[in-house]
Symmetry: C2
Subunit: 379 residues, 2 copies
């Protein structure tokens, strides 16, 4: 790095290449991701010295792969989240020999990216838990889609009575004819507030979806009804829309859902852990290992690390392991992830083995109780 050009950030790619070609491949990647033309055709010193990405290091990564770290000029991002993604993985997303593995923001980007407004502590404050012994938060999902607002509201009341902390819409519950956003959110928030009268406090997180006009209208409804959180799928709504619209106008913690984010050739800990955090999520849902999805244990722990590790002034956020979890796994999940976690059990609360006395209420209450005991045990 040159003294006259202090603001650069690093990104590391796992590149599949022959050892004799990796130097040229790395240099081509640096050009592809910055100026998209041959260096020989650049006539301006400013572009060559201050704009082009540079190859900072090339390290063997085993089995015909290399870890190539590029140094990017921060100014090429325009300090905007969408253009940052473009610089990191715009064109080379189309090149199957390249995976994005790591991104190390410089100070200027860290200042410019919004980060979480509430973060881990914000969830506890919103739930009135900041004075209590730290325990994991509990979360569940209203499902299936296709139910009426009243049916969903009854389910929400049941979960709230059981003591679940955060009750979210299934991410497939959008703005369909059978449960339009406005009447649904009103009915569910009313039901949760009714349960709160019995001493339980719960946050409802409705799913936001659609383009900017719809989102703005949905955020208005959410504010008017006094909902305590929102759920958003950053890869569906678009990262710039998360940053500039949802985070700015929600006024409550944001739960990020990984729909459409998978199977990207971006390391899950980077995308779901670090980037979603930098883009404004206050909690990040990910498919936990040994569930319906394929992430392994190390990947899941890395996501949680990226969500909570020190990162300049950026507050930590809650990792939310999910995807086929059940109450039987609560103790193990707390051992894995600690108490600064939100445990999400969805379908299993609706579809557990039915025994005498069993019910959604009983199963949800058992989940809540298990977390309280497990959280206390590890405290």
């Amino acid at each position: 790095m040159r003294n006259d050009d202090p603001e650069r950030f690093g990104a590391t790619y796992r590149v599949r290449a022959d050892g004799r070609e990796i130097q040229a491949r790395a240099q081509a990647l640096a050009l592809e991701q910055s100026i998209e033309m041959p260096l020989a055709a650049v006539t301006q010193d400013f572009v060559r010295d201050r704009v082009v990405a540079r190859v900072a290091s090339i390290l063997p990564a085993g089995e015909g792969t290399f870890d190539v770290t590029l140094s990017f000029a921060t100014r090429t991002t325009g300090l905007e989240a969408g253009q940052l993604l473009n610089m990191l993985f715009g064109n080379c997303s189309l090149q199957p020999d390249v995976e994005l593995r790591a991104f190390e923001p410089d100070r200027e980007l860290l200042q410019a990216l919004p980060g979480p407004r509430f973060g881990l502590d914000g969830w506890r404050r919103a739930l009135g838990l900041q004075g209590a012994a730290a325990r994991p938060l509990t979360c569940t999902a209203l499902k299936p889609q296709g139910q009426s607002p009243q049916q969903l509201a009854e389910l929400a009341a049941t979960f709230a009575l059981a003591g679940i902390d955060v009750i979210k819409d299934d991410h497939g519950i959008a703005d369909q004819e059978y449960a339009r956003f406005a009447p649904r959110v009103a009915a569910i928030q009313k039901a949760i507030r009714g349960a709160a009268a019995s001493g339980r406090r719960a946050l409802y997180a409705p799913t936001l979806s659609g383009g900017p006009r719809r989102l703005r209208e949905q955020l208005r409804v959410a504010r008017d009804e006094g909902v305590g959180a929102v759920l958003v799928c950053p890869m569906l709504c678009g990262v710039p829309t998360l940053v500039e619209l949802v985070r700015e106008e929600a006024g409550v913690p944001i739960l990020a859902h990984p729909a459409f984010a998978g199977n990207v050739r971006i390391a899950p800990d980077l995308l779901l852990g670090r980037l979603f955090r930098l883009f404004g999520a206050d909690a990040t849902i990910f498919p936990n290992f040994a569930g319906r999805f394929s992430y392994d244990r190390a990947t899941c722990l890395a996501i949680a690390d990226r969500a909570r590790e020190n990162l300049g002034h950026v507050p930590p956020i809650l990792p939310v392991p999910a995807g086929g979890m059940a109450t039987e796994r609560v103790d193990e999940m707390i051992r894995q992830f600690g108490n600064d976690v939100m445990l999400l059990i969805g379908g299993h609360l609706l579809a557990g083995a039915v025994t005498p006395g069993d019910s959604v209420l009983a199963r949800a209450a058992a989940f809540v109780e298990r977390v309280r005991q497990g959280g206390a045990l590890t405290h």
Copy 2:
């Protein structure tokens, strides 16, 4: 399909599975993509009959893979593009054994999705070419980023004088400090208009980037300056934002760029050809075979087919092969793609072999001339 439930659409997934497990895997996929819970736990007839996705067919696809076609209830999309993507590939994007290969919209979705406002014919009309013998359109990119508005404007004037039809910003030219959107667009559009006075007509397509507020402001600048097209990266700005904001407010043809689109396991012809078309793109850029990217010939021809084939009332759009193309390939590209195509040559016009008399102007003019002759030859 049942008579009482006419509106369903189909989607086909390539699934890697053991033959003994494919039935269960297909059924699990249908649930994952619709209600995300076990069917046994569904208590409402409406959900079971009218909301859950069904397995329509399972066909062997060779080498331990199967093509699983699901039938989705159209109402689950809420007739909104982002939620359609969620239904098609939200959760299963996280499952590496699944690729989305095809999507067959029903009549209701075809009506609801915006489609291109201008399409293939719209580009010819805007360029005053509708009466002329059909020839491919020519396109180039202003690059590299890092240049000032005035430097970019001089380059644009050169391209316009050479007779290039569509002059776009490099997709990495966003809203950086060295060439802010408003002064850049004003300078470049003025330069192109100056060249037009000499009898050439050209369209400038500036890159739109950022969240909804920035986009709306950029669209206002573009309208005020009278630019003839816009460039947008749907996977960076978010599909709902393309549909609801860019397409509604641009008022000029939209050129879609595939940045960040290569990282999902969706077949390129479906994503870049069919879906971008349905979401409002009037032309779709893709990395042509034997360039800097890895798509093969069949994939590229399939993208062009999806862009131009009959699809209800939806107008065809222009395929735009790109990514390391050169004038030497013009004849071959016209043979491959025909005359209803926009040929994009970027860096090669700036970095061709420098011989006496060679210049950007000469190289651009040679490209234009080659297309005119090649287009005439195949006509």
